[in-house]
């Protein structure tokens, strides 16, 4: 977390380059983790199916950096970045993807159900918008007990078309509970583009907040500093008892919906251009004027961390088959 001095209003550049370098390192860690996950999946080493957050790293890092350890969040099917950014080790996440007992969900959850209660990860959710009502309830508990904590829900633009989204924002605003609804707007609902699934222009999706009388804060989701400052402002708003915030960040999914998605629905040239102009890591690197040596040093560090996580996961323990029934009931 940033110190109070580093806090600034959205739009103002107020974050030290030291903090930004920390963000850079974390975003690159997420990127290298996701690339490794793609590689190991294609090699047939990982069961299930996977969604990676390449291109959306600044959202995870920017939002989670603004949160306190005791704040909680719920994630989506595209969860690895959020989990890393909130403080779960890549070892535990990778072990989960390998289905090992050392995984952050003990091998019971998998990629789409990463949990880590110690750092406030209440679970990634494979049902679009499925985590939102629970986050409202968590915030309600904080409000009733007068705890200074916020609850955060990550979800995409596709989720804003569900009834769950509308019921959740409606209830949260009605009760003024401390929630930050992080709308990670990448303009795709799986393979369906914004124009076929959103009644509003994709960049204006934040207008949804007005229907609930909810505070809207918007930021460029490819600019980690902007996301971070916006999330700090959202957290302050929520903790001040002023109610929830819709934090709308426009971001870009620079890969397919799932690992192995041939993306037949996507314009190749546009994707190429997005990769060149919208990569949040490249943008931050340029802003920090990182030298090639600086970049290589950070890259070597995070790559080693990811490699070690694969070794950790491979050396992990398979759960006993009969342990499947261990947690059906408390």
């Amino acid at each position: 977390m940033a110190t109070v001095e580093e806090r600034a209003e959205p739009g103002r550049r107020g974050v030290s380059s030291e903090v930004l370098r920390g963000f850079f390192r974390e975003m690159l860690l997420i990127r290298r983790f996701e690339e490794k996950v793609e590689e190991r999946f294609r090699a047939g080493e990982l069961p299930g199916f996977l969604h990676v957050a390449i291109g959306q790293e600044a959202v995870a890092t920017g939002v989670c950096a603004a949160l306190a350890r005791e704040d909680v969040f719920a994630s989506t099917h595209r969860a690895h970045g959020h989990a890393i950014a909130k403080g779960t080790s890549v070892d535990k996440i990778m072990a989960e993807l390998y289905g090992k007992a050392e995984g952050c969900s003990g091998g019971y959850g998998g990629s789409m159900h990463l949990y880590d209660l110690e750092v406030g990860n209440l679970g990634a959710n494979a049902v679009v918008a499925g985590g939102l009502p629970g986050i409202v309830g968590a915030a309600l508990a904080f409000q009733m007990r007068e705890e200074k904590r916020v609850a955060v829900a990550f979800f995409g633009d596709g989720a804003t078309n569900t009834g769950t989204f509308h019921e959740s924002l409606n209830l949260a605003q009605l009760w003024k509970v401390p929630v930050i609804f992080v709308l990670e707007n990448n303009g795709w609902a799986e393979s369906t583009p914004a124009a076929q699934q959103l009644p509003l222009p994709v960049d204006q999706l934040g207008k949804r907040a007005a229907a609930f009388g909810m505070k809207l804060i918007e930021a460029d989701g490819q600019d980690v500093e902007a996301v971070y400052l916006a999330a700090l402002a959202a957290r302050d708003h929520a903790l001040a008892g002023k109610g929830p915030v819709l934090l709308h960040v426009r971001t870009f999914r620079l890969t397919g919906h799932f690992v192995g998605d041939p993306q037949v629905y996507r314009d190749r040239e546009a994707l190429k251009q997005e990769r060149e102009t919208k990569d949040p890591i490249r943008l931050l690197g340029a802003r920090l004027e990182l030298s090639d040596e600086d970049f290589a040093a950070i890259d070597a560090e995070v790559t080693a961390e990811v490699e070690a996580s694969v070794e950790f996961a491979r050396a992990g323990t398979d759960p006993k088959p009969e342990d499947a029934l261990k947690y059906v009931y408390a």
Binding site: Y108, G130, P133, V136, T164, Y327, V328
Partner: protein
């Protein structure tokens, strides 16, 4: 002992839990000033205030879902879904979230949530205000399902549901709210998963739930006059199920009738029949008879409604059929 109606018994459990600790709160549609559409929560707002007795918007998904979220944070919410027909609107949260969080998290999460709801025919509400959907939830690992039929049971079981660390779907039957019964002066918790033998008999076991417990007791009375001795067992908790008591009873009587108001096909009676035939096959002297509603959405007209749902006469007929086999 004191006398309470079924409705008062539910309220008594709620009041005692609300007094006992701050983690318990109640939310649902019209449950505050109005006291609930079935008047169960009357007076709660006055004693406990709007923070703990919370009216909600008409948002079943958000009601159940926010209950889940609060429960994970250590609260013990009791949410009311006005009619069990409306549970269908909250199914995603119930089935995908409440039931699965604990397993998906590898045991990190507990969901001590109670979802009270009610339904039942007998007053011509039509097809969307009287379904009996309890068996749907018995199919979902991670949920518990409770369906009490008497004031004493509804009070003791609601208490245990509130203090259970798992999500419990708690069914009340609309036509039972006014019935009276003796309850202990002090609330005695009734453990989940324990059946009650309402009437001891020798020839046939009727395993009945909800309103049909009372219909079965009437049928048993009538059968007695015909020289047939009937044992009536109410599982009270459908999940987990007290198989020992039920199977033990059938092994003794050698004949069995299951009875519930829900439609027969795919109803809880099917599960009971499967459990019983497997565990008591060599004891059975007749096929297990199932009594339930005819396979139809509930029609409005009272004469059609009454024809569709089962009554004591249907249970009695089924009892006679099992006896006629041997």
């Amino acid at each position: 002992m004191r006398e309470l109606t079924y409705r008062e018994a539910v309220r008594d459990a709620l009041v005692r839990a609300l007094r006992r600790d701050e983690s318990v709160f109640v939310m649902g549609e019209d449950i505050a000033e109005m006291g609930g559409s079935m008047a169960v929560t009357q007076g709660l707002l006055e004693e406990f205030g709007p923070k703990r007795i919370r009216n909600t918007p008409i948002s079943e998904m958000a009601i159940v879902g926010s209950g889940i979220g609060a429960a994970i944070q250590g609260m013990r919410p009791v949410v009311e879904i006005m009619y069990e027909d409306f549970l269908t609107l909250s199914m995603e949260q119930l089935v995908n979230q409440a039931a699965k969080h604990r397993t998906m998290s590898g045991g990190q999460v507990k969901v001590p949530l109670t979802i009270r709801t009610q339904g039942g025919a007998g007053w011509s509400p039509g097809a969307q205000h009287a379904q009996q959907l309890e068996s749907w939830f018995v199919h979902v690992p991670g949920l518990k399902v409770v369906f009490p039929s008497t004031p004493e049971d509804v009070r003791g079981l609601l208490w245990s549901s509130i203090y259970d660390d798992n999500p419990v779907v708690f069914f009340e039957h609309r036509t039972l709210y006014p019935i009276k019964g003796q309850v202990p002066t002090e609330l005695e918790p009734i453990p989940l998963g324990k059946a009650r033998i309402h009437r001891v008999g020798e020839d046939v076991t009727v395993v009945a739930t909800g309103r049909l417990v009372h219909e079965a007791l009437q049928a048993a009375e009538a059968a007695e006059g015909e020289g047939i001795s009937v044992e009536v067992v109410d599982p009270r908790t459908l999940l987990p199920l007290d198989e020992e008591t039920i199977v033990g009873s059938v092994r003794k009587t050698t004949r069995c009738v299951t009875a519930h108001e829900a439609v027969t096909r795919g109803g809880f009676g099917a599960e009971l029949a499967a459990v019983i035939q497997h565990a008591a096959f060599d004891w059975l002297d007749a096929p297990i008879e199932r009594v339930g509603a005819k396979f139809s959405p509930l029609p409005f007209s009272p004469v059609m409604e009454q024809w569709v749902v089962p009554h004591a006469a249907d249970v009695l007929e089924a009892i006679r059929r099992t006896v006629a086999r041997s």
